[in-house]
Subunit: 190 residues, 2 copies
C-alpha cells in the first residue's frame, strides 16, 4: 500500500477552538494510512504530544510538524515533484477525480482548510475536490478520501512497534499489552 | 439508496467538551445519507439548532432528538424490527461484517460511543464493528461506515428544498442561492 508518501496539511489551526478537531483529524490520518501531517496557524504543542503518545503505544511513526508559512510548504512539496489535493466542498466530486489521483505515483499533500481558505490554495492545488458539496467535517471528508485513495487496504494496516494491539471480538474487548519480548513473538505470528 | 431508515445514536454527549465533535458527527451523518440522530448525555439545544439551520439552508430533513434513556431507545428500535450496529475499535473489522449489514433491510441504528461505553451496549448490539482497531475519531469511523453501507451512492445525494446549492468547480467557488421560484425550476432540471 505504501508506495508513495501521503501527508496532510491542516491550515489555520486555532488551539482554543480546534484542539479536538485537529487531534481527531491527525489521528484519522494516522489510522487510515497517511505518513504525517503539517499544520499552520498557531503552534500547539499539546497536539503534537498527544499524537506522539499514540505512536508510542499504538505504533508507527506518524509525524506532526508545525509550519509558519503554509505557502512555502506547498511550494517546496511541488518542487520535489509532489502533488496537492485540496479538500473543499466547492471542488469537483471525489468520485470524478479519485482515479486520476490514484494513478499518479507522486508524493501527495492533502490540504484541509480552516475557516477561511485563501484563494491561493485553490490556485496552487492540482485538484480541488469535494467529498459531497454539503457542509460536514474535515475529519469525515479526509476519512473517505483516504479510504478511496488506499482502496480499503488502509483498514488492515499493522503498525510497527505497537505496544497495544486490539484483538477484534464479536462482543467485549480484548487488548494485548506487549512488552518488547512478547511484541517480537506476536509480530512473527501475524 | 434510501431503502431503509438509518439513524445514529450518540451516547454521553457533554456540551462543553463535545460540542464541535457531536455537531461534526451529525453533519457528517446528514451529508452521508443518514436520516437522523438521537443523542444521550446532557441536552444541548445549540447542537439541535445548528443542525436545523443547516437543514433550512442546505435542504433535507435530518432530525436530531435528545433521549434521556439510551437503553429505551435501543430496546424500542429492536422492538420495531430494527438492527443495531455499534462502532467500536474493539469490534470485528468493518470489512468482515459490512456485507451482512448491507444485505438486511431492517432499519439500522448506528451507535457511536462516548468516553466509556457501558457493557450493555456490546450486548444489545447486533454487530460490534471496528473501522480499524486504532484510536481515531467517531467522525471518521462513521464516515467510512456510511460510505461502505451506501456503496458511495451517498456522495451524490441531492437534498430536497435546498436554498443553497454548490456547483462543483475546478478552481474557486460557485454557490447558487435560490429563492423559492428559482428553487422550483432548479429542482426540475436535476
Amino acid at each position: 500500500m505504501k508506495e508513495r508518501k501521503v501527508y496532510i496539511l491542516r491550515l489555520s489551526h486555532r488551539p482554543q477552538r480546534d484542539k479536538r478537531a485537529t487531534t481527531h483529524l491527525f489521528l484519522a490520518a494516522r489510522a487510515l494510512g497517511a505518513d504525517g501531517a503539517f499544520y499552520s496557524g498557531e503552534k500547539d504543542e499539546k497536539i503534537q504530544r498527544s499524537i506522539e503518545k499514540v505512536n508510542r503505544s499504538w505504533g508507527g511513526d506518524f509525524k506532526v510538524s508545525y509550519v509558519t508559512d503554509w505557502k512555502k510548504t506547498i511550494r517546496e512539496w511541488k518542487k520535489k515533484d509532489g502533488k496537492i489535493a485540496h479538500l473543499t466542498m466547492y471542488g469537483l466530486p471525489l468520485q470524478q477525480v479519485i482515479n486520476q489521483i490514484k494513478n499518479i505515483r507522486n508524493p501527495l499533500l492533502v490540504v484541509v482548510g480552516g475557516p477561511k481558505v485563501p484563494k491561493e490554495v485553490y490556485e496552487l492545488a492540482d485538484w480541488n475536490l469535494s467529498v459531497t458539496s454539503q457542509p460536514h467535517s474535515e475529519i469525515s471528508a479526509l476519512a473517505i478520501f483516504l479510504h478511496e485513495l488506499f482502496e480499503g487496504k488502509e483498514l488492515s494496516i499493522s503498525f510497527k512497534d505497537a505496544k497495544i494491539i486490539i484483538v477484534p471480538q464479536v462482543k467485549g474487548k480484548k487488548i494485548l499489552k506487549l512488552n518488547s519480548q512478547q511484541l517480537k513473538s506476536f509480530v512473527r505470528t501475524i
